[in-house]
Amino acid sequence: MQVGKASIKFEEPPVIESMASIVGKKEGEGPLGKLFDVVEQDDMFGADTWEKAESALQKQTADLAIEKGDVRKKDIRYLFAGDLLGQLIATSFGTVDLEIPLFGLFGACSTMGEALNLGSMTVAAGYADKVMAMASSHFATAEKQFRFPLGYGSQRPSSSSWTVTGCGAVILTKHRKEGIAAITGITTGRMVDMGIKDSMNMGAAMAPAAFHTIQQNFDDFNVDENYYDKIITGDLGQVGRTILLDFMKNKGHDLETIHTDCGIEIFDPDSQDTHAGGSGCGCAASTLCSYILPKIKDGTWKRVLFVPTGALLSTVSFNEGETIPGIAHGVMIEHIDN
């Protein structure tokens, strides 16, 4: 059912029946280290290039989600997946062997939100019984594409983030009484450009988009922060969180205790030197599948607004002096009472 301006409420909420998360060594050493399904010690994932490594990461994660859910591959009708690389090469090469019809998505670091939005719409509408939503990022491929070669020495400002090497995948199935969690509604974000030009401060570029989507969700569903146990953004980091909380406070919403951010949860900035926090599609996706969904499943949190955030940074537009617009997609995830 269409709700408000940008939201959908699912009368028969699609259910997350399986999840998998695979991350790299550094993420495994972080605060969430023990929660991931697999911590791969080899950042090359057995491949000979970084791009192939990220493809292997996607393939392994998808296979694991299928295996954990005891689902037959041929029953998954569509795959909604994406990554950060040009022409989505991690996804396009990584998912060849899956032989599942693919929608390749680019939403920068918000991709998991976009995949869950589209995946749950597809399932709820009856166009598929099962779909998979997946997103990945790799520190080395992202550095190579957006910043500098790994061997180049440089100093990173304190507002910069650290791209997560990780992948998260979920399998959504049509409404039923059991499962990990249910997706009860979505609020799709729109582009928000506040004129930020500093690619080393993506939290500031994305925070207004997160604010906009959360506010839109509140308006569309006629709810406020009390409706949720947690509101979890993707990769705003410390700077972005500060800005989001300030913006929400100005609107009369106090998110101080219920807000957290995947980028803040996944690394320990003091011991891991990650500055503002983690980022990348894999940040929100792997945190969702290791930390957030289990807590919803066991009932610690009954209702969560998951808001992956993306900074639509391009090296071309950046060099041409353009700003960095942001986007954030809201997904309402709820506990299933058995």
């Binding site: 000979d48 290039t49 970084w50 190579k144 500098f148 070669p149 790994l150 061997g151 180049y152 020495g153 440089s154 100093q155 400002p157 304190s158 507002s159 928000v192 506040m194 004129g195 930020i196 401060n201 500031a204 207004p208 906009h212 700077v239 500060t242 800005i243 300030d246 913006f247």
Partner: protein, 150 residues
């Protein structure tokens, strides 16, 4: 949105932590100084072997570049720069690092389109504008000399 872009920019500046200047300056001075001291030790040792100063300087440059190349390959030079900042970027070792790093990274894309096209992605501007500015200065010096000013 009710906040305008200019106000937002000022607000972001306010909430974004800045790197501490003084410790960075001290670290840069220390690292830069150590690299230069190593260079001086090399020059002095080579000159002690009875080599001319110009030749000794050329050998020193070669040694520093070779050291930086090896340290980049071993992934140690980025750590030195992370600590020392401009102290490690400005000396010739930093320049060597900026050439080797892309070469290592883009090797997978082939000898021509990988290493060949991308080896100077970071150092290219330094080379181009370095040559351009020395050409301009050369022209100025030539003109001043022609008019007997210098």
């Amino acid at each position: 949105m009710e906040v305008n872009k200019k106000a937002y920019e000022a607000y972001v500046k306010e909430v974004t932590p800045v790197n501490k200047k003084l410790p960075n300056i001290i670290k840069a001075f220390l690292v830069g100084g150590i690299i230069c001291t190593i260079g001086q030790i090399c020059t002095t040792l080579i000159m002690n072997q009875g080599v001319e100063k110009d030749t000794a300087s050329a050998w020193t440059t070669l040694i520093l570049i070779a050291a930086s190349v090896i340290l980049t390959g071993l992934n140690i030079y980025p750590k030195i720069t992370k600590f020392g900042g401009a102290g490690a970027l400005v000396p010739i070792t930093g320049f060597a690092n900026s050439v080797v790093a892309p070469a290592v990274e883009f090797k997978a894309e082939g000898q021509v389109f990988g290493i060949g096209c991308k080896i100077f992605t970071i150092a290219g501007p330094v080379i181009l504008y370095g040559i351009l500015s020395s050409w301009i200065l050369g022209v100025i010096a030539y003109v001043l000399k022609a008019f007997g000013i210098v």
